[in-house]
C-alpha cells in the first residue's frame, strides 16, 4: 500500500505526519520526494550507505557535422538551443531531454551527454527502509529526481511518501500511483485556501484522501466546516503545543516520546487501511 502525505501550503506539518506515521507501524518503506528541501531524515537519522547519481541527457553538437541550419533551435519548445552564425549555444538547465533536436537535425550532428542534476540516497534504520532524493543547488528540474526515486517503490511494503508543497508537476509526480493521500493543513485562512487547492489535485487524480489538522486551536473552525460540507474525513487533529513544536525543532518525532501518540498514529493507519481495502 502506498500512502502519500501532501499539502498545498508549505510548513503545515507534512513531514511531521509522515515521519510519525512511519515510526508507528511495521514494514515501512519511506520515500522523501521533497527533493528540493528533504527533511525527513532529520527525524529518522538513517545512515546513508548508498547514493546513486541522477543525470539527464543533454545534446552536444558535433561541430564537424553541424552546418548551423537552425532547425534544432526552431524545434526546441524550451529554448534550450540557440544557433548564432557559426555556433550553437546550449542552455543545459532548460533542456527537457525530449530528443527532438536529434530527430530534426539533417546532418546527424547531435550527440548526447550525461548531465548530473541530483542524487537518490538510501539508508536503513531498525524499522525503516529509507530513500530520499536531492536536487542539486542551482538546478531547475525536480521531476527527473522524483521519477528516479519513485522507481524504488516496493509495493510489498507499507510505503509512505513525503510530498513537496504546492499543486504543480512535482506534486503530481510524487502522489500519482498512491492508494491513499493524507492532506495536512492548519486551521488558518492560508491553510484552508491551500487545502482546497490540494483537494482539487487529489480529486483530479482520483485518490481517496483524508485531512490532518495540525496546530489545532491556533486559528478558527473554517477548515472543519469546509471538511464537513465536502464530506472529507478528518483523520487526526494535532493540537498546538509548545512541547510538540520544541520536539520538532530538535528533530525528534512525537511518537518516540509518547506512547499515546504512537497509538494514535497506529489508529490513523488502521483507518486508512480500511478505506483502501474496501
Amino acid at each position: 500500500m502506498i500512502i502519500s502525505v501532501a499539502s498545498g501550503k508549505g510548513g503545515t506539518g507534512k513531514t511531521t505526519v509522515a515521519t510519525n506515521l512511519a515510526l508507528s507501524i511495521k514494514n515501512i518503506q519511506f520515500i522523501d520526494c521533497d527533493v528540493e528541501e528533504p527533511n525527513a531524515n532529520i527525524f529518522f537519522k538513517a545512515e546513508i550507505n548508498n547514493s546513486e547519481n541522477v543525470s539527464v541527457k543533454i545534446p552536444e553538437i558535433d561541430k564537424e557535422k553541424c552546418d548551423y541550419c537552425g532547425k534544432c533551435s526552431e524545434f526546441c519548445a524550451y529554448n534550450a538551443l540557440a544557433v548564432v552564425t557559426s555556433n550553437v549555444l546550449i542552455f543545459p538547465e532548460l533542456c527537457h531531454s525530449c530528443g527532438g533536436c536529434e530527430l530534426v537535425c539533417p546532418n546527424d550532428a547531435i550527440n548526447w551527454k550525461e548531465r548530473l542534476i541530483g542524487k537518490v540516497e538510501h539508508g536503513r534504520t531498525k524499522r525503516i527502509d529509507f530513500y530520499q532524493g536531492l536536487l542539486n543547488v542551482g538546478e531547475m528540474q525536480a521531476i527527473p529526481v522524483i521519477k528516479n526515486l519513485k522507481k524504488k517503490v516496493d509495493k510489498s511494503k507499507n510505503v509512505i511518501i513525503d510530498v513537496p508543497p504546492g499543486t504543480s508537476c512535482p506534486v503530481i509526480e510524487s502522489i500519482s500511483g498512491s492508494d491513499y493521500c493524507i492532506l495536512v493543513t492548519e486551521p488558518t485562512p492560508f491553510g484552508l485556501h491551500d487545502l482546497k487547492l490540494a483537494v482539487e489535485v487529489v480529486r483530479h487524480l482520483n485518490i481517496p484522501f483524508g485531512v490532518v489538522i495540525n496546530r489545532d486551536g491556533i486559528g478558527n473552525n473554517k477548515v472543519e466546516l469546509y471538511c464537513q460540507n465536502e464530506n472529507i474525513p478528518i483523520i487526526l487533529k494535532i493540537p498546538e503545543r509548545k512541547k510538540i513544536a520544541y520536539l520538532y525543532s530538535k528533530g525528534i518525532a512525537i511518537v518516540s516520546e509518547s506512547l499515546e501518540w504512537h497509538e494514535m498514529f497506529g489508529l490513523v493507519f488502521n483507518q486508512i487501511q480500511e478505506v483502501v481495502n474496501k
Binding site: C98, S168, T188
Partner: protein, 287 residues
C-alpha cells in the same frame, strides 16, 4: 528601482505574513505574489482585479483518432511516457516537446495550447499588485512566475514606483529561481528548527549560485534558543546579515484571520520588530 524577494526554502516559515507587513510600511512600491502554486497574499491584500490574462504554459499533444493508424511511432519516441499503448495522451505527463507531432507519418497529432492558468493585474490598498493562479496539476510554474515578474515590472515603470516587493515560493527549484533572478536582495525567512536550518543552507546556496545578496530573518526565534544561536553563528561565519528576530506571537494568525497585515492589526512588540527589520532591509537596499 529596487527589487526585493522574500523566500525561505522551507515552506510555512512566515514569508507571506512578512511580505504583507512590509507592504503596510512601503511608501512607493508595487507587489507581486510569485507563489503561483499556492498563492496566499491576496487573502490579506483583497485585490481589486483590473485585468485578467490567460496563461498558456507548454503546449499539449492532441491526437486525431480518425487519422491515426496506430503505428505507435509517437509512443516509441515519447521520452515522458505521456502516450499510452492505445495512443491516448496522458495530460499530466505531456511536457509539450512536439516530438510526437514530428514523428507521426500521417499528421494525426497537433500541438495545441493548454490553459495552464491566469495572471492578474490588481489594485490594492497598498498599491498595484501582480499575481497569478496556476491551474492545479499544471506544469511550467517557473514560466508563470516570469509572467508575473514582467507584469510587476511594467506596473512599477508605469506608476513610477521605486520598489518591487515579491513574495516567493518555497523550495529551491525552477519557480524559486524565476522569482529571484535579477533582484537586488533576497530576504530569507527561517525558523530555529533543524528542518528550517537545513533548508536555509540550501536556499543560501541558490542565492550564492546566482550571485544575489541575501539577508536572513529568524521567525519564532524563541521556540528554540539553542537553534537560534546556531543560525546566528552560521550566518556570522558566512558573512550574512541577520536583519530581524521575530518572537513567536499568535497575533500573526489573528491578523490573518482578520484579513489584515500584522502592522495594521497590532502595535505591540512584534510590530516594533517588523519596523526595525524594514529599516534594516531598506538600508541594505540603498547600499
Amino acid at each position: 528601482m529596487k527589487q526585493l524577494t522574500i523566500i525561505s526554502g522551507k515552506g510555512g516559515t512566515g514569508k507571506t505574513s512578512i511580505t504583507a507587513a512590509f507592504a503596510s510600511l512601503a511608501e512607493n512600491a508595487v507587489f507581486a505574489d510569485c507563489d503561483v502554486d499556492a498563492a496566499d497574499l491576496h487573502l490579506i491584500f483583497k485585490p481589486n482585479i483590473k485585468k485578467t490574462m490567460d496563461f498558456h504554459g507548454l503546449k499539449i499533444a492532441s491526437v486525431n483518432k480518425e487519422m491515426c493508424t496506430e503505428c505507435k511511432k509517437c509512443y516509441e519516441h515519447c521520452r515522458f511516457d505521456a502516450i499510452d499503448g492505445d495512443i491516448n495522451i496522458i495530460k499530466e505527463s505531456c511536457e509539450g516537446c512536439g516530438v510526437c507531432e514530428h514523428v507521426c507519418p500521417v499528421n494525426a497529432i497537433t500541438m495545441i495550447n493548454r490553459d495552464s492558468g491566469v495572471s492578474y493585474i490588481s489594485e490594492t490598498r497598498f498599491g498595484p499588485m501582480a499575481h497569478a493562479m496556476l491551474k492545479t496539476a499544471e506544469e511550467a510554474s517557473g514560466k508563470l512566475v516570469t509572467v508575473v515578474r514582467n507584469n510587476v515590472k511594467t506596473l512599477a515603470e508605469e506608476k513610477k514606483k521605486d520598489m518591487i516587493l515579491i513574495d516567493g515560493p518555497p523550495g529551491i527549484g525552477c519557480p524559486v529561481i524565476a522569482s529571484i533572478s535579477g533582484v537586488d536582495l533576497v530576504l530569507i525567512v527561517t525558523e530555529p528548527t533543524l528542518s528550517a536550518i537545513h533548508d536555509l543552507e540550501r536556499i543560501l546556496g541558490v542565492a550564492y549560485h546566482f550571485k544575489i545578496p541575501a539577508v536572513v530573518c529568524i521567525n519564532k526565534f524563541d521556540i528554540n534558543l539553542d537553534n537560534t544561536k546556531k543560525i546566528e553563528q552560521y550566518c556570522k561565519s558566512n558573512n550574512i546579515n541577520i536583519v530581524g528576530k521575530l518572537p513567536y506571537d499568535n497575533i500573526v494568525t489573528d491578523a490573518m484571520i482578520h484579513e489584515k497585515t500584522v502592522v495594521e492589526y497590532s502595535k505591540g512588540d512584534f510590530y516594533n520588530e517588523i519596523i526595525k527589520m524594514w529599516d534594516k532591509v531598506n538600508g541594505r537596499l540603498k547600499e
